[in-house]
Structures are given as C-alpha cells and as structure tokens.
C-alpha cells in the first residue's frame, strides 16, 4: 500500500533521513523503532505530505504522495507527536472541526464523535475545554482526532508518551482492534516493549538510516546468539565478567551486565564458572534476546542510552 524509495530529507546541513526504502502492506501494524532524533517524526511528516523530500519517492496505492494531493490525504490519518488540539475548545468542538475538514457533517459526524470519545473513555468529558484535560486525556483525544474520517492508513507518532499504564493499555487494545478491522498502522516509538507487543513488522531507525527491517522473529534470528544472560555489575561479579570476555559480547548499562555468548558456547560452561566462584543462581537471568539486544547489536548503543 505504501512505498518509500530512497527517501532523503535534510534540514540545512543535517540529514534527517538518509535513503530510506520501505514497503508497508495493507493491514500491517508497522513499527518504527528508534531513539530520540532518529528521524521518526520526519518520516511521518513526509508520508503525511507535510514536507517534501529532497530525493526519493513516496507512493500510496501507486499515487505519488506529494504535498498537493488531497485524494491521498483522505486515506491518511496523522496522530502528531505533540498535542495538536485547540486548547480553548471542548473535546467535541475539536473533533467537529477535524471531522468537517474531511467533509463529514450532520448526524454521521455526531455519531462518529460519540463513538470516538467512547472508545478512549472521554465521553464524560466531551464538553470540557481541552486545556483542562490531563496530559493523558489530551493524548487520547489527540489520537481519535485522526480517526474520525476512518483513514486507511494511520500514522501514529509516539502516541503514548506520558500516559499511565491503564490508559496505554486501552489505547493498545483500541489500535489492535482497528488493525484487526483492516486499518493499516504505522506506529513510531522508542519503547521496544510497545513495538514488541503491537507490531507485526518493525523497522529499526537511527540517525536517519533504516538499520533493520522485518518481523520480530526475523530481527531476533539475525542476532548471532539466541540467549542472553543478565547479572548485576558488582565487585563480586567482576572476576566472572573478565573470565567471560573471550566467550562472547559483554555490555554494561544501568548497573546490569549483558552477556551474549558466541555461537557454540555451552551454557553449562557458564554455570560451572558461577558455581566455582560461589555466586548464587538468583543473580542470573537467562532470557531470549529482545529488541533491545537487536538495537544494541546494530548500533553498539543501548536504545535507552541513545
């Protein structure tokens, strides 16, 4: 449905996007995972037609997505990273304006507004001014404002920033339901948990480059290890870390050491070492690698440190 071919975008001398090529199929829940400043919002704005790329092409269902094409716009919904609502107006008034911009009116529009507010649990605050909403409530309204016209492709730019776990879960379920009903979603985030839970396919982006692209499993199998062991970085574990050095990758961040064994390294050998040093087993967590590990492997940095 959406095709990007060698898309490059610069802000002055800064290259925010560097030759991005990407295909998103109908019905996908596509995740764009990257740290701050990776270029996620820039990519979203190009797809939404807010900016034009310096090089490359973007097409939606074969139609070029230039900033002037309004037919393609009808098929798009954008949830901007920042709250883009009129603070002095009520929730209903805001939604009405955004609905009318897409040509909706009358009973149809009212019905959709009611349903939308219901879906994000804001029905009881429908007639309050948006500036009096909590941050999380504004986020939820920010999300549904992009859905009134039932777009075919929804661009969500970090829609859950600053939201409590319950509301976040509600948003996830809402988006998953919409996706099941056929909505194609592009979802940008720097939370690997979100990408892991929601996305059928993930693009890892950093410094304007698409570093990896695939399903979660595909990304994980690209790792040269399939288990990792985490333990606290303490004076007691320092000798162990030194002994593990020849057998795999070691990375320390946030007081935690991650050990990714080389292929062929036997975990029994590892536990033999810990026993020899009388380190209690509860110190060690063995897990399948996560997206975090993928990112670390691709960039040499932890997603959280980036």
């Amino acid at each position: 449905m959406l095709q990007l071919h060698s898309v490059t975008k610069r802000y002055g001398s800064l290259t925010a996007l560097d030759g991005i090529s990407l295909d998103v199929a109908r019905g996908e829940f596509f995740g764009l995972l990257g740290p701050n400043g990776a270029g996620k919002s820039t990519l979203m704005s190009l797809i939404a037609g807010l900016r034009a790329p310096e090089a490359g092409t973007l097409t939606l269902d074969g139609l070029p997505l230039t900033s002037a094409r309004s037919t393609a716009r009808l098929a798009l919904g954008l949830v901007p990273q920042h709250i883009a609502l009129y603070p002095d107006l009520t929730a209903v008034e805001n939604l009405r304006i955004f609905g009318e911009l897409y040509g909706l009116r009358g009973a149809d529009l009212h019905g959709r507004i009611d349903a939308a507010l219901e879906a994000v649990q804001l029905a009881d605050r429908a007639r309050d001014q948006v500036k009096n909403f909590s941050g999380g409530m504004q986020r939820r309204l920010n999300l549904v404002a992009a859905l009134l016209h039932r777009p075919k492709l929804l661009l969500c730019d970090e829609p859950t920033v600053g939201i409590d776990p319950q509301s976040r879960n509600a948003i996830f379920e809402y988006l998953e339901r919409l996706n099941r009903e056929g909505l194609t979603i592009i979802y940008s985030t720097h939370y690997m948990e979100e990408a892991t839970r929601l996305c059928s396919r993930i693009g890892v982006i950093d410094h304007g480059k698409l570093l990896a692209l695939g399903t979660l499993d595909e990304l994980l199998t690209r790792l040269p290890f399939d288990e990792e062991i985490l333990f606290p970085a303490t004076p007691a574990t320092t000798p162990l870390a030194a002994q593990l050095q020849p057998h795999g990758d070691l990375a320390t961040s946030g007081g935690i050491v991650r050990f990714r064994p080389r292929p062929g390294y036997k975990l029994s050998a590892f536990y033999a070492l810990t026993e020899a040093q009388a380190l209690p087993p509860h110190l060690f967590t063995q897990q399948r690698p996560t997206l975090e590990a993928v990112f670390l492997h691709l960039t040499g940095r932890s997603l959280r440190d980036a």
Binding site: S45, G49, S67, A68, S70, L74, A145
Partner: protein, 465 residues
C-alpha cells in the same frame, strides 16, 4: 539567586536568542524618530504645509490680479490650479466648474478662490472675493484660510489702487489722467529726487506704495504706530491685527462651504476616520499574529495532513480578520455617533461596505507582516512600526498636505489614506455607492496585491515549516 533576578535573566536570554527582537529593539526607535522627522520635514526648508491644491478662477479682467495669482503660486503651501483638470481641449477653469469638481469623488481640489467680475467695486472702496471650501480637515482649512488672507491682503493696496484708478479714469478721461500722473511725477522728482519716468510708470500701474502696510516695519516705525504701547504687550501682533482689521473691512469674502455643510458634528466626523483606521490596523494585525500561536501548538501539522492547503488556512484567517475588523469598526462608528453626534446611522449600509474593504486591506496587511516575520515578537514590532509609519504618511495624524510634497505621493500608496478617503466620502461628503466605487476598487486592489504577496511569502516562509 533571587527568583526575580533568575526570571529576569531568563527574559534577557530569551530576548538575546530572538534575533528579530534584538534588531527591532534598536532599529525601530531609531527608524521611528528618523522617519517622523523626515515625514514632517524637521530641520528642513520644505517643512510646513505644501502643495494644497487651490483652484483660482479669475473673472475680474483686472490687470493687477495677475500679480496676486503669481504671489499665490509662489506660496509653497498651494498648488494653484487654473486649468480645468479634465476638460479637453484644455481651458481655464470657470466659476461654474468649481462646485461639480469639488463635489465629485476624488475631487482635484478642496479649496477655490474666485476673483469675480465685481472684484473691484466702482461704487465703493473695497474688494469682493469668493472662497469655496470643503473643510474636511479643520487644521488644513485654517491653514489655507490664513495663508490665503495673508497673500490677498498684501495685494489689497494694489487692487484698491486699480479701483481708484478705474474710477478716476472714468471721471477724468484717459488723457487727463495721464497728464495728471505726469505732473505729479515731475513735481515729486524735482522736489524729492528720483526718476520721473519710473514714478509715472508706477503710478499708472496704480502702485501708490500702500504695499508698505504689509511689509515688515522697522522698530522705530512700530513704536510710532503705537506710542502708548505697554512694553509687555507684543506690538507685532497688535500691528498685524490692526492691518488685518483694516483690510477685512475693505475686503468682502463670500465664503461658501461646498461639501459637508450639512454635517452635524463636523469636527468628530472629520477625525473619526483617522482614529478608526489606526485602531483597526492594531486590532487586525494582532489577530494575524494568532497564526504563530497555532504554529507553536503544532496544529498546522494536523490541518495540513488533512485535505487542507496553506491557502485555506490563510484565507480563513483573512476572513476572520475582516469579520472581526468589521464588527469593531461598526461599534466604533456607532459609539462616535452616540458620544459625539457623528451621523452614522443614515449612512450605515455604505459605511459598512467601506468598513469591509478597509478591514480587508488591514487584514491583508497583518497577514503580510506575519508572513515575513519569524516570531510573534518580530511581527508585533514590525507591525507597530509600519502602522505608525503608514498612519503618519497616510494622513491619520495630520493632513498629508502638512508633509513635503514628494511624501504626499507615497501617502496615496497607503491603505490608511484610501480607507480615510472612504470614511470621509461616506460620512462627510455623503457620496453614493457609485461615487465611492473607485475608492472601494483601490482598497480591493491593495488587498489583492498585499494578500497575494503574503501567501507567496507564507509558502516560502517558516510558519508552516
């Protein structure tokens, strides 16, 4: 650090970061004071009113009036019009032309002097002149009156001499009069010295030296004239008034207010247009600055992702500005009607129409400012500067004729000037829709050009970036 100091430091940091604000802080006051001095011709020879169109019709057939007209031409206050401005083939203005021309929209002059056939009376010692005016602006009218009187009074003696001469000629016959002149000239020349021929020529031209009345006197003469003068009194003024008094009895001015004679409260009516337009400019440019608020709130992203173009956003802001301006103007005029008796209600439909066009022009101006500014601070600094500049040269403070003539050309490029023309055409001159059409057309033209430029700039500028 004390919270106030910390916050103060924050404001300075903020200010320093904003290049436009920094440059405007220094540039605007400087430019302002320079411009105003320039506009009003401070420290320059061409200061003071200049180029006020004054029509002069000479139907008197007197030789001496040529000198008077030359003297009027020499006044830089006036631009003397003696030819019909539009008639083809060209012909001198006639008295019958004046009224229609002055009543017409875009009148080529608002003041006219007629030297009628009975300028010089044969039956009594005195002059008769006709003064036609459209006293749309009080200050201007008073200036014209003052300078006109001064110039005419300084030629009264000569004209009176003509009057005496004419009577003498009639009674004595031409030959006798010539012999009389020659006799006197010879006697004067042989008694007091001088050239008898020159004296005779000047007597024949009726120059009896009365002109000395209006020339500046030397100190001793002045004291002679008012021997008992209190030293605290200003003798000069006394002198002038006494001359003026003398002449005002001799010169009969028929004044005729051509336009606005029926206006109930002339002063407020002639001033309210200038107030209105300045107020409108400030109000409307502030509303255009709300574009910055929406940009900063990121709302343009959502709008532009919808089937909405930049032009849609700008035109909606434009219409909003026009609506807001219209309502505020109507309130302002209705208030001026309640408070100062300006007759608004009978002209409300036409006035509202002018208000729409004026509001449109002002709004497009506000949009242009927003389109070339990078921040609301820059926009408001630039707007303040330009509004004051346009108001000054457009005539909202003083009649434009008080500025050097070359600036008056620029006046006519401002929307302030044309909006005021529009208000005045409706409230003062009570013109019809057909008559104000050209003004509406001009305001509409200004709007289209300015708004076009603004949209073009917006598409390249940073507000949607």
């Amino acid at each position: 650090m004390h919270p106030i100091l910390a916050l103060l430091r924050k404001d300075f940091l903020h200010f320093r970061r904003n290049k436009a604000a920094v440059s405007l802080t220094f540039a605007v006051p400087f430019a302002m004071i320079w411009l105003f001095g320039w506009i009003f011709g401070v420290n320059r020879k061409d200061s003071g009113p200049s180029g006020i169109p004054l029509a002069v019709v000479d139907a008197s057939g007197h030789a001496a009036t040529a000198k008077l007209i030359t003297a009027l031409r020499a006044e830089k206050t006036f631009r003397i019009i003696t030819e019909h401005p539009s008639a083809l083939p060209k012909r001198p203005l006639a008295e019958a032309d004046l009224r229609p021309l002055m009543e017409a929209p875009g009148a080529p002059f608002r003041f006219a002097v007629v030297l009628p056939a009975d300028l010089v009376s044969h039956t009594r010692l005195g002059l008769h002149l006709i003064f036609l005016s459209n006293p749309r602006n009080e200050i201007e009218t008073q200036t014209v009156n003052g300078i006109l009187q001064k110039t005419i009074f300084s030629h009264v003696p000569e004209l009176l001499g003509q009057s005496l001469q004419a009577n003498a000629k009639r009674f004595l016959g031409e030959d006798t009069l010539r012999q009389f002149h020659r006799g006197i000239a010879r006697t004067v020349a042989s008694t007091f010295g001088g050239d008898a021929d020159a004296l005779e020529r000047s007597m024949a031209a009726a120059d009896f030296g009365f002109g000395a009345f209006t020339q500046p006197r030397d100190e001793s003469l002045r004291r002679l004239d008012s021997p008992a003068a209190d030293p605290n009194q200003k003798p000069e003024i006394k002198k002038k008034t006494s001359t003026a008094d003398l002449f005002s009895q001799i010169v009969k001015f028929d004044t005729d207010q051509v336009v606005g004679a029926k206006v109930r409260s002339p002063m407020a009516t002639s001033l309210v247009g200038g107030w209105a337009i300045q107020f409108l400019l400030f109000a409307v440019s502030a509303s255009a600055a709300s574009l910055f608020r929406e940009r900063d709130a990121g709302i343009f992203q959502r709008l532009l992702a919808a089937p909405v173009t930049r032009a849609h956003i700008l035109w909606s802001k434009f219409l909003y500005g026009v609506g807001l301006g219209l309502v505020q103007l109507v309130v302002l005029f209705v208030a001026s009607s309640w408070l100062y008796g300006v007759e608004v209600l009978p002209h409300l439909p036409l006035l509202a129409l002018v208000c729409v066009f004026a509001a449109a022009a002002c709004t497009s101006f506000g949009m242009l400012i927003a389109s070339i500014s990078t921040s609301p601070e820059a926009a408001s600094g630039l707007a303040t500067f330009l509004i004051m500049f346009m108001s000054a040269i457009g005539g909202a403070w003083f009649p434009i004729t008080f500025m050097p003539e070359f600036i008056q050309y620029f006046s006519k490029l401002t929307l302030v000037y044309w909006s005021m023309e529009g208000f005045s055409a409706v409230l003062w001159a009570r013109q019809s829709l057909g008559q104000i059409f050209p003004i509406l057309g001009l305001l509409g033209g200004i709007t289209v050009v300015v708004m076009g430029t603004a949209i073009w700039r917006f598409n390249r500028g940073r507000i949607f970036g």
